[in-house]
């Protein structure tokens, strides 16, 4: 999937292989253009994207801001995107719950406010709420149901976008870091990487946490990045039916800087709670503290009082890149000709990703890029079919076609050897790359059992030397000390 050789020229270079960069790559792959995407990590979706909880938001309170508008539009796209790109997505709906009378008053206001903004919303009475969610706090007064809220797997969605872009001619290079951008007469001329130079007239800054560094490369220093950390708790999927909707207590204070967070059932079945929003100590502050965990449990356990909160199987942190001035997306041309921002994409960036990509295309056209549609553009991509989605009949048939479907590698998530090999054939070169593509190692044992098998398959099927096998790319090797 990933290109080995750095091209010497391109029509457009996208910096950053997150959900935004890959959305833009796929949009651009519809046109007759030479498009190159550069990613410094060993795979796509490993920056801000990976730290996302996977909620496809129905709206954000800041309706008038760019992020508010693009959120509403972006949400609508997901059914078609999921159909075309075959990534997991469903719409369980969002329940905004009033746990006390103050919140009850607030959801009345919120109800009319959502109606006014044409967001589909239903009033859910106390008794109806108990029917929808039998385990919800008995004190709950009422709730609002916003049916368009969805859940997805942000990394699998990003991989799907990238695979489809590559199938339509985009070149994606991983392990390739941009070190500088050359300009001539205040116009982008070339992108310099640690592997060489690409001549280009257009650069898209979709560098996520490094957006500020990339801006600096062309002398843009106006913005200040605020690093917002969010912790997420993942619970054993055995409790994946204790509630069904995405749920949040009705927030009382509305501040663009607060992140409400929610509890959801992840698209793969685990309850997931989070995120909070605290200031991170820099770009690589992925540390989780006991206070973070306690705070999230405190915040949400009122929704489902009987939820067994000590069945956490994993906790992790995401760091978001936020423009400290606007707290909004930064999309558009800059003072440097040909340098276009799609950066500082905070929540709801995942939801808005497809619309953000379209915006970027509009900007490119205005800035003089000639867009000619490809007649042979193929919008479809097939995902890796997991045996955990198969009926027993389908599974039996699959094993008869390929015996490796009958060899289980990851018991917790029920992943077969065939799926792991397919992930390797599609470009997975690290343990984490396999994990994100197949879910092997994502379950309750957190890879204790399958690590040895995954290493073996990377070695035999992926032809990777043992010394080069890593958890997540350079520096995270397994075998050290020889």
């Amino acid at each position: 999937m990933f290109s080995e050789n750095l091209p010497s020229e391109a029509d457009v270079v996208i910096i950053g292989g997150g959900v935004i960069g890959c959305s833009i790559a796929r949009e651009l792959s519809k046109y007759k253009l030479k498009v190159v995407l550069l990613e410094k990590e060993s795979d796509v979706g490993w920056g801000v994207t990976k730290g996302n909880m996977g909620i496809v938001h129905p709206f954000v309170p800041q309706m008038k801001m760019l992020k508010g508008k693009l959120c509403i539009e972006g949400n609508k796209r997901f059914d078609e995107l999921a159909r075309e790109l075959d990534f997991p997505f469903r719409r369980p709906g969002l329940l905004i719950v009033a746990l006390n009378w103050l919140q009850f008053l607030a959801i009345i206001i919120a109800y009319f406010w959502l109606k006014k903004h044409k967001v589909k919303v239903y009033w859910i009475s106390r008794s109806k709420l108990r029917k929808l969610e039998p385990n919800v706090n008995k004190k709950a007064k009422a709730a609002l149901l916003v049916p368009s809220a969805g859940v997805t797997d942000p990394v699998q969605y990003t991989i799907a976008l990238a695979e489809n872009a590559v199938a339509n001619g985009v070149k994606i290079l991983v392990n390739t870091e941009v070190v500088g951008i050359e300009t001539k007469n205040n116009r982008v001329h070339a992108v310099l990487t640690d592997r060489g130079k690409i001549l280009t007239r257009f650069v898209i800054n979709a560098a996520g946490l490094c957006s500020d560094k990339v801006e600096e490369m062309v002398g843009i220093k106006e913005r200040k990045m605020w690093h917002g950390k969010g912790i997420m708790l993942v619970f054993d999927k055995v409790f994946g039916d204790l509630y069904h909707h995405i749920m949040a207590p009705m927030p009382i204070k509305m501040d663009p800087r607060t992140k409400g967070g929610a509890i959801a059932i992840y698209v793969h079945g685990n309850p997931i709670w989070g995120p909070n929003l605290i200031e991170a100590k820099g770009k690589s502050d992925f540390y989780v503290s006991e206070e973070d965990i306690k705070m999230l449990i405190e915040k949400f356990k009122n929704l489902i009082p009987d939820f067994p909160t000590d069945w956490i199987i994993k906790y992790f942190a995401g760091v978001r890149a936020i423009d400290d001035n606007s707290w909004d997306f930064v999309i558009g041309p800059t003072k440097v000709k040909g340098f276009i921002n799609a950066s500082y994409i905070l929540s709801p960036g995942l939801t808005a990703s497809n619309v953000i990509a379209e915006k970027v295309i509009e900007v490119l056209e205005k800035e003089g890029l000639k867009l000619v549609k490809k007649p042979d553009y193929n919008p479809y991509r097939k995902g890796i079919r997991g045996i955990n989605t198969m009926s027993l009949e389908e599974l039996d048939k699959a094993i008869k076609n390929n015996a490796k479907y009958g060899k289980i590698v990851c018991l917790c998530e029920m992943v077969s050897e065939a799926e792991v090999i397919e992930a390797i054939n599609r470009g997975a070169k690290t343990i984490d790359s396999i994990k994100f593509r197949t879910r092997a190692g994502m379950g309750r044992c957190q890879g204790g059992r399958c690590l040895v098998k995954l290493i073996e398959l990377l070695h035999t099927e992926g032809k990777i030397e043992l010394d080069k096998i890593s958890l997540k790319g350079e520096g995270s090797y397994i075998f050290v000390g020889d």
């Binding site: 917790c412 044992c445 397994i478 000390g481």
Partner: protein, 313 residues
């Protein structure tokens, strides 16, 4: 799709499953089928070498490899049917075991009784709530042993051992065999661990009554922070942390089969006859509960075998 039937289906050909199968045969239960997901029988026994166990047959002390040999000959001798490479994924009412095998496809076995002896999963950094970052270089004891034995390679330069379980001692011996350096041993309790006592005399710092609370390093582990009861912290530079806290029941098959789980203890709900909430489906060994040592697990297995066999017959 194939459909078989049998008197008793045992899921897991490890220490417990094999002991039970042999005893059942001994008592004249004919049609016993063992399902094993790995390519060979033995479970833990395949990976251990030094740890002294007790034989479920004569109750004498025995080494893992010797015990595995005993099992192998019993299986041939007693004509016990073992299906390797066969993963049980679910148990339906009946009971009926749904499994997959690369050669057969989906295999359904209708049984009079089913015993789950799938063992435990190792307690990991999340179970222990070790916070901080999530780099490469953190292994559970058995995974460490498997990596070393399977690939014959070192898995770190500066290793800290953390735990209180005997498998950690086994891991230490493998580290030593391949020439890895152990920098420190951290034990949450106020005790030494058998053989580790000797090595602490070899000059390896031994931290008693301390817990690992924090991991640092984004790619490979760089350091750990340990803390005592009073919250006094100390940082140890290391690139590898090996956890040895033993096993906890792996509830996966029960979860797939909608069986009841004891939420507090995180173990399957079983009655006095070791039956799970699914009728005629029993639990034993590390699948049924947490054991502090293998010997205790074996002793209890021997004790409960009679009970299970009574019910099965």
């Amino acid at each position: 799709m194939e459909e078989w039937s049998g008197d008793t289906v045992i899921i897991g050909a490890g220490l417990t499953g094999l002991a039970l199968a042999a005893q059942l045969k001994d008592r004249g239960v004919e049609n016993v089928i063992i399902l094993e997901m790995d390519e060979d029988i033995g479970g833990l026994l395949r990976w251990l070498k030094h740890l002294k166990l007790i034989s479920p047959f004569d109750k004498n002390e025995i080494l893992p490899t010797e015990l595995l040999d005993v099992y192998r000959s019993k299986i041939t001798e007693m004509n016990i049917q073992v299906l390797t490479n066969t993963t049980a994924i679910k148990i339906e009412e009946g009971p009926r075991v749904i499994s997959v095998n690369p050669k057969i496809g989906v295999l359904k076995i209708n049984a009079k009784k089913v015993v789950i002896a799938t063992g435990g999963r190792e307690i990991n950094q999340y179970d222990l709530r070790i916070l901080g970052s999530r780099p490469s270089g953190i292994f559970t004891s058995l995974t460490a042993i498997q990596l070393i034995r399977r690939f014959n390679k070192k898995i770190g330069k500066d290793v800290v051992l953390y735990g209180n379980n005997e498998i950690l001692v086994e891991a230490y011996l493998w580290l030593k065999e391949i020439g890895m350096r152990v920098k420190a041993i951290v034990c949450p309790e106020n005790r030494k661990l058998g053989i580790l006592e000797a090595i602490s005399d070899e000059g390896i710092p031994f931290y008693r009554k301390k817990k690992v609370v924090f991991l640092d390093g984004l790619k490979r582990l760089q350091s750990i922070t340990i803390s005592d009861e009073n919250g006094d912290m100390e940082k140890i530079m290391c690139d590898t942390l090996i956890l040895g806290f033993g096993f906890t029941p792996d509830i996966t098959i029960l979860a797939n089969s909608a069986g009841e789980i004891d939420l507090e203890k995180k173990v399957p709900q079983i009655d006095e006859k070791y039956m799970t909430s699914i009728k005629n489906v029993f639990a034993c060994g590390h699948f049924a509960k947490r054991y502090t040592t293998m010997k205790k697990a074996i002793e209890e297995t021997i004790a409960i075998t009679d009970k299970i066999i009574e019910t099965i017959n």
